[in-house]
């Protein structure tokens, strides 16, 4: 029967709004695994749970805020960063984390990202990048690789995509990393590091969106994209920013790692 409990409880239950499950995400989507990495990072965090705040914008990733059981805000499209900035500036005791998608944070919300990083707003920004506007059905966005198929580009994407770690590094973010939804342990550790790093931190998380991007671009379903991550990802913290471009359709390496952790040097970890 739908809704019948198979097990009495799950280790993640207390950090998820279990009464809101099952979630809305598609089979094969990376968002479930990413949410788990986040809730585990919260669980391991030194910060008291009631001081954690999750803020998201609009889109599939925007729904993460609705599932994590801490104070959580699902705001307007593109605006989670300034909303989070307001929360944190007024009450510096809060540990404020934005989780949102590439379209939300880098198209409609791009200006806020630039300025939050510039002013070193003391918030964490975790961006789930699935290379398209997923919630509305796979239209191309600011991270879609050149040549990608999408309903809004009958002749293929012609504009250059953002390289997000490169952007964040250029803007002076204190912590910059990239992982995928396959690298759940590294991602969780990285999230914990970001939470412990003062100032503005940024993690890009690549995630399969078979519905909006994978299937229409020859990558396949969610499992196929995970295999691609397994076969093509290389962890290289010292990678050149010029080697950080991503095109999952190509037989090319995808560079992951923690590209900057200055913030940790500024404040010794205990």
């Amino acid at each position: 029967m739908i809704g019948e409990k198979v097990v009495a409880s799950h280790p993640e239950d207390s950090l998820l709004r279990a009464d809101r499950l099952p979630h809305i995400w598609c089979p094969g989507c990376g968002l479930g695994a990413i949410t788990t990495s986040y809730t585990r990072a919260l669980q391991e965090s030194d910060v008291d749970r009631d001081r954690h705040v999750t803020v998201s914008g609009i889109g599939c990733t925007g729904r993460v805020a609705g599932y994590v059981h801490v104070d959580s805000f699902h705001t307007t499209h593109g605006r989670p960063i300034p909303f989070a900035t307001g929360l944190k500036i007024y009450n510096p005791e809060l540990e404020v984390t934005v989780i949102s998608g590439d379209g939300d944070l880098f198209a409609i919300g791009g200006n806020h990202f630039i300025h939050a990083a510039r002013r070193d707003a003391p918030i964490n920004v975790f961006c789930v990048n699935n290379f398209n506007y997923a919630m509305t059905g796979g239209q191309h966005g600011p991270t879609s690789p050149v040549g990608s198929n999408s309903p809004t580009t009958p002749a293929g994407v012609s504009d250059r995509p953002f390289n997000l770690p490169r952007l964040a590094l250029a803007l002076g973010a204190n912590y910059v990393a990239r992982w995928t939804s396959l690298h759940v342990r590294q991602l969780q550790r990285s999230m914990q590091q970001a939470l412990n790093t003062p100032g503005f931190t940024f993690i890009e998380i690549l995630s399969p969106c078979p519905i909006g991007y994978g299937k229409s671009n020859g990558i396949g379903d969610g499992l196929d994209e995970m295999r691609h991550y397994r076969d093509h990802c290389v962890v290289d913290d010292k990678a050149s920013i010029y080697d950080m471009e991503i095109d999952l359709r190509a037989d090319a390496p995808v560079v992951l790692g923690v590209f900057r952790r200055d913030g940790e040097r500024k404040k010794p970890r205990d």
Binding site: D50, G66, H69, D71, S72, F73, R79, P82, G86, N111
Partner: protein, 385 residues
């Protein structure tokens, strides 16, 4: 740079401009958070608060645009701030996005709009009153908003204080809809003693935090108490239609109930919210409805019309939204008509005509300078017949 730290309430007699009086009203009201973006003719509000808020332990930030400013104001309010911003037409337009979020999530905050000539960039340094309908309907969807229209520097102070109380009382964004003349003119302002300034903070939950606390369960007054982030309620706040728990709900009944309540919590308290001033209205045959800077010319016009033997009166909305419909209906049977001078093409005149069968004569200038009493007197004479 001065190291002197002044108190929250600058009790005494001052000679200050309207924007500065607005900023002092905010500080006196306990405002402790401002996020904004400079825009003429409201910039002096921000400049004053940049100095004053740090003096009283508040936070001040200039954001990258008005989209972000309004989002930051809402974030500040959820962290527990008495939060505000100040802007003018073009910025007000950008803020509409998150004003809608503020309405839907019931977030108290104050937005000051010092109106200038519009549309678009219009007349940045010159007066206008053409944001009246934008204030009412500017963000998408059905909702009721409270907006005050100050006509003097004193009212810039007083109505800013009131706006914070109203925002907290009804958990809603509240507007101070000023204009360039009131914002930029300088006149006497009396700031009362601290204990004479009424401050009614937002109601917080009295129940201790618990996991399934219904953050959106309204009290009998239709307003739910508001927890702060970090209080332990582990709440969810969304611009999606939501149930009492704050969880997204996609059914028509929940949506209708929520949207109806958002309007009802304002309309059912209209008597408490609506304020107006009347001058010689009791026996008036022609009633001039005027607000903001134009009400100053209208006051003079009414006096001059009386001197010419015409029974004219002034009805000045202090609260422009919700509109004083009932008062117009009461006056309808006993007047010959209404004259509505305004620095737009008839936004309030249209509202007046919805509630009367009598003549409604607009006196309109799209903006740029104050309407002089002369044109208003002519209109009064015309309606008097």
């Amino acid at each position: 740079m001065t190291t002197e730290t002044r108190p929250r309430v600058l009790t005494g007699k001052h000679f200050m401009n309207g924007d500065t009086a607005c900023a002092e009203g905010a500080v006196a009201a306990g405002c402790d958070f401002f996020a904004g973006y400079p825009i003429t003719p409201s910039t002096e509000v921000a400049e004053r608060l940049a100095v004053r808020l740090p003096e009283v332990g508040g936070k001040f930030i200039v954001m990258e645009d008005e989209l972000g400013s309004m989002a930051a104001v809402l974030g500040g309010a959820w962290a527990g701030a008495r939060a505000m911003t100040a802007t003018s037409g073009p910025g007000f337009t950008l803020m509409m996005e998150n004003i809608g979020l503020g309405v839907m999530t019931e977030t108290p905050c104050v937005v000051v709009d010092v109106q200038r000539g519009s549309p678009s960039t219009g007349l940045p340094t010159l007066v206008g009153q053409s944001d009246i309908m934008q204030a009412k309907w500017g963000s998408h969807g059905d909702y009721q908003i409270v907006a005050y229209c100050p006509a003097t520097c004193q009212e810039m102070f007083d109505l800013t204080v009131k706006a914070f109380n109203t925002a907290d009382r009804y958990r809603s964004p509240v507007f101070v809809l000023s204009d360039e003349i009131v914002g930029h003119m300088t006149e006497g302002v009396v700031i009362p003693e601290t204990d004479e300034i009424e401050i009614t903070p937002v109601r917080r939950p009295t129940e201790p935090p618990r996991d399934d606390y219904p953050v959106y369960r309204p009290g009998p007054d239709l307003v739910p108490p508001m927890p702060r982030a970090g209080d332990g309620y582990r709440m969810h706040v969304t611009g999606l239609t939501h149930d009492e728990r704050g969880y997204p709900a996609m059914d028509p009944d929940t949506h209708d109930e929520l949207v109806q309540r958002l309007s009802r919590k304002i309309l059912e308290h209209a008597d408490e919210i609506i304020e107006y001033e009347e001058v010689l209205v009791d026996d008036a045959e022609v009633v001039v409805v005027a607000y903001g800077s134009v009400s100053r010319s209208a006051r003079e016009a009414v006096q001059q019309a009386r001197a010419r033997g015409i029974k004219a009166g002034l009805l000045r909305p202090i609260t422009i939204w919700p509109f004083m419909s009932e008062r117009i209906k009461e006056l309808d049977p006993r007047v010959k008509g209404f004259v509505v001078p305004e620095l737009n093409l008839g936004q309030v005149a249209g509202e007046v005509s919805r509630h009367t069968s009598k003549t409604v004569r607009g006196v309109n200038l799209a903006g740029g300078e104050l309407l002089a009493p002369g044109a208003i007197i002519e209109a009064i004479e015309e309606v008097a017949g």
